[in-house]
Amino acid sequence: MKRISLFTICFVIFIASWVFLRFVVGGFISVPIPSSVIAMYMALIFVAILVHVSVEDTRFSEFIRPIHETLVDENRKTRRIVLAVLIPILMLGYTYTNIAQKAIPAGDPRVAHPVPPSEFILTYKEKEIGTMQEVENPYRHYEKDSPEEFKSHIENGRRVYYDNCFYCHGDHLDGQGHLAHGFQPLPANFQDPGIIPNFQEAFFFWRISKGGPGLPNNGTPWNSAMPVWEEILTEEEIWDVILFLSHYTGYSYRPSGEAH
Amino acid sequence: MKIKMFTAFLVLLACGLGLIVLADNHEEEENNKLVFPKAYTTMKVSDGGKITGVVKFEGEVPKMKKLDINKDKVVCGKTDKYDESVVVGESMELKNTIVYLMDITKGKDFDAKANKPEIDQEGCKFTPHVQIVPVGVRLTMLNNAPITHNVHIFLNDADMGQDINKQQNRMLKKLRIKSIAEAGGPVEVKCDIHSWMKAWIAYVPHPYFAVTDEKGEFTLEDVPPGTYKLGYWHEACGTNNKEPQAVTVTAGGEVKQDFTLKLAE
């Protein structure tokens, strides 16, 4: 059996890495990777290959032998002609598509859940409630103290949610309400394990009461369709709906007092 | 001590009665429907009597609203049309009132005319405004103009099953509507295409039903001698289901019974 040449191995590794980055990582596993990042990785791989083949003289000569042959060997004439046609055509196509490509607007560099400063004072309308670190849901303690009372708060939260929130955040709290498709950014998905467990109830109170316009600039407040709910809901209704969110999804909020 | 027991008795009695009332409170909604005998058998009536009368309206006569003919004006808008829910004559005679016997169990059969009920949609208006249809008999909808209608009968409102809704396209001059096996109604019939078109259909088990004419007059003929409850129904004035009028018919005789109706609250 003929041994596969070192050049072919390196070539295959190079192409396979690109396919892996472009389609496997940036498709199956995760979202597409920007082409500039891929280019960076590919450059690294290229250098690594060069280093590998040039460590020993014999290995290097073995590596360049096929290239050498292709360029001058009389037996490799067909391959030479094919490459001489193929490479210019590929370069032609590549340059053309690059030049003709349409510019794409830069996306908003939006922080989906901007963290307020730790000394942040939580308010309802003008009324101060306490610092973001310390404030707890005033009805949370009923969960242990009075299951009956707790249930009535959950039920009130459910009512508040379906009277006000489900249009966008959805019946299943998955951010896919019947109005969701018209908004950018999309409404929050409370079924996402990265949402409720990562934030304190006080954080939710802040986001609900102040809505989109209450976001700091890195949260692109001008894009958010979240209303300023303190203008519509009572303080208790906001805390109740926060209870309902965790009740329905089964997730627990990050305990208060813990740093983010 | 005795008083205490008596009070307890009263309290418990009140509870019990309250529950009974709770258990069948749906009688209320039946007040705007016709009342039928449990069963009806036909027989030959040779010495029957006659019930006649005039239905009059009392109170301020609501102005008949002119209907907005917003479609197919060439055909439908030829003549002005008015809301026919309260049609009152010069001396307060009330048209379109059903007067009928509530509790007759034996009597004559339907005649040939009653067995061929029709509603005409000429000029985009249902004529008659109140139609009596015997149970098990098919109603025919007539349409002589090249206009598409739909016949939407709201049976479900009277718990008579699913509504009927059939398109009668402009090429269909006649459309027969399936018969209904059980008595009920009156139910509304509408044309959704021409939203102003509304009428009423009563599905009835016996022929002792009359609809008052322009003069407010009604006649029930060939009534076997006996005492009956005489009922009425009017779309805006309601019914006398709670206090039916008793009439006694003698062989070959004629009973006069007039009614005076007010708008239902």
Partner: protein, 576 residues
């Protein structure tokens, strides 16, 4: 004394129990799990007792279904029949597009969904009666489907007019028929005929089979009738016979004398037609047909089904397979460069562009809110030249409302309109602050507001909030033209790229400009803040494709070839 009291108490409590038991027996056996799931997931809209009166119901249109009347719109069964369990299961599973009923496949297990079906059925006694009498609802016959083809679509199109679909659904299917503004459902709520060009809003799905089922079975509770066999012209006659019969009918109508042969033919055809209709009526009334009548009926229905498939194919042809992709990311609104005059409203040149789709949803942020918008989207195309830019905005609206009117059944109807929103100053780069998407805030927006009452003019507005807009003092020369036809507005707007007014947006090629929309459907009660809105999207004057794209690539190709040749020569020289 005590004893008597006790006895009395016992007596009454037993009476109490008897009544309770008797009362409870009226309601059929309840699936415990179904009840639990229902109360957790459905009751907030459909109500604890299934009356469609949950707390969220008030703001929804179509309203959540009232289960107590047994009226079900989406069925695979014939008119007058209840739905099958599978129908109910499918609706729960897939939801109802275009309404607020979501899919439950992702949220509930199949078992739970079946439990729900069982529980929902307990709200209406008719289901129990079916079970007791061991009858099953009659299914719509789906065999003999006619394959989609242009010819079938053509036939369907003719039927669409002949059968009277246009009365409600309009000439081209945008739900703008002349009866559309007056429709109410059996629950007395306003209802609109489906816009057949927006298949993604069909409640019961938009497959050809779905359309076929809605047509044959009707949509119970709505004004949509069932197109059963006997609602077709000359049901039971072949096209040839129908033609002959129509001629003879005409003669009879005109009181012309028929020849003996003609009379015979007339009687024969009348008899055939009548027998078929009678068979259909018998069937509808639940009478078992004789084998003979059944055969006549089945034969006649073949023709009806075929026609119905043609019609379904036509309706299917009216809308794209799914909701178009909204204009985000690569899909932004790109105004195309054109030398010379820009096309006017009716110019065929607009047909060369594909439009960008901007979904609209209800403004539910600020009072007064619109929870049930009727305008699905705005579609936009644009051209520009060296000095001007022209836009063509297209959106569907079932009614053309040009004045404020008090209607008897539906409250006040307002004026239709569209507003196009840009920032006054284009943000420099993505981190730069934009105005608030809802008509601005701290930062102002520049608006073009068009109202159907003045179709030939458009106002320039500056706004710093949805309730804080004012007309610009200096109304520039924005040219406008518009048309309302077959349930669709087309609005053409042209403006100079640069203006003198500091409050105007200045438009430069290649610069990405935020753009957003508001739309008012007057018949839907839209006025002021009550309207349909969009988020910020992006618009750009697409740079003229540079001629570099024809010059550089060949140079690069030649260079690479040269490089290869050079390399070979270098190697050869070294070898020698």
């Amino acid at each position: 004394m005590r004893v008597t009291f006790f006895v009395l108490f016992l007596l009454f409590s037993s009476l109490f129990t008897v009544i309770l038991v008797a009362y409870a027996q009226e309601t059929p056996e309840v699936s415990e799990r179904g009840k639990e799931v229902y109360e957790e997931s459905c009751a907030h809209c459909h109500g604890i007792e299934g009356r469609g009166d949950g707390s969220a119901a008030e703001n929804l249109l179509p309203r959540p279904r009232d289960f107590t009347g047994g009226v079900y719109k989406i069925r695979s069964t014939e008119s007058g029949q209840l739905p099958t369990d599978q129908d109910l299961f499918d609706i729960i599973t897939n939801g109802m597009p275009g309404s607020s009923m979501p899919e439950w496949e992702s949220a509930l297990s199949a078992n739970d969904r079946w439990e729900l079906v069982a529980y929902v059925k307990t709200f209406y006694s008719g289901f129990q009666e079916l079970e007791e009498t061991e009858t099953t609802p009659r299914l719509i016959n789906l065999t003999g489907k006619v394959k989609y083809s242009e010819k079938s679509v053509e036939i369907g199109k003719v039927l669409y007019t002949d059968l009277g679909c246009i009365e409600c659904h309009g000439n081209v299917g945008r739900g703008d028929g002349t009866s559309a503004p007056t429709l109410v459902d059996v629950w007395d709520f306003r209802t609109w005929p489906a816009n057949l060009t927006q298949g993604w809003t069909f409640r019961g799905g938009s497959s050809t089979e779905d359309i076929f089922k809605r047509f044959i079975g009707g949509i119970a509770g709505s004004p949509m009738p069932a197109f059963e066999g006997d609602t077709f012209y000359h049901f039971g006659l072949t096209p040839e016979e129908s033609k002959n019969f129509a001629l003879l009918e005409k003669k009879v109508e005109n009181e012309e004398e028929l020849t003996e042969e003609e009379q015979e033919e007339y009687d024969k055809l009348y008899e055939k037609w009548d027998t078929t209709v009678l068979a259909a009526l018998d069937r509808a009334e639940g009478t078992e047909l004789t084998p003979e009548a059944q055969k006549i009926y089945d034969n006649a229905m073949k023709d009806v089904f075929e026609k119905s498939w043609h019609l379904a194919n036509y309706v299917k042809s009216l809308s794209p397979e799914r909701r178009p992709k909204s204009a985000i990311g690569k899909n932004v609104l790109r105004s195309q460069y054109k030398e010379g005059d820009l096309p006017t409203l009716d110019d065929a040149e607009w047909g060369t562009l594909t439009s960008s789709y901007y979904p609209l949803v209800g403004q539910v942020i600020v009072e007064s809110r619109q929870f049930n918008p009727t305008i699905d989207s705005v579609n936009v195309k644009s051209f520009y030249n060296d000095t001007e830019v022209a836009f063509l905005f297209t959106w569907d609206d079932r009614t053309n409302n040009t004045t404020v009117e008090e209607t008897e059944d539906f409250g006040t109807s307002y004026i239709d309109g569209l507003a196009i929103q840009f920032p006054v100053k284009v943000p420099k780069g993505p981190t730069d602050e934009k105005p608030y998407f809802l008509w601005g805030g701290k930062k102002p927006v520049y608006l073009w507001q068009w109202m159907a009452s003045e179709p030939e003019s458009i106002k320039e507005l500056t706004a710093k909030g949805i309730n804080n807009a004012e007309e610009q003092e200096d109304q520039g020369t924005v040219q406008v033209n518009s048309e309302y036809k077959d349930g669709q507005y087309r609005l053409w707007v042209k403006r100079a790229l640069k203006t003198e007014d500091k409050k105007d947006l200045q438009i430069e090629p290649t610069v990405f400009v935020p753009i957003a929309f508001s739309a008012w459907d007057g018949a839907n009660g839209d006025v002021d803040t009550k309207r349909g809105i969009s988020s910020w999207y992006t618009f750009v004057l697409e740079p003229v494709p540079s001629s570099r794209r024809f010059i550089y690539p060949p140079i690069v190709a030649l260079l690479s070839l040269g490089l290869l040749v050079g390399l070979r020569q270098f190697v050869q020289r070294r070898n020698t």
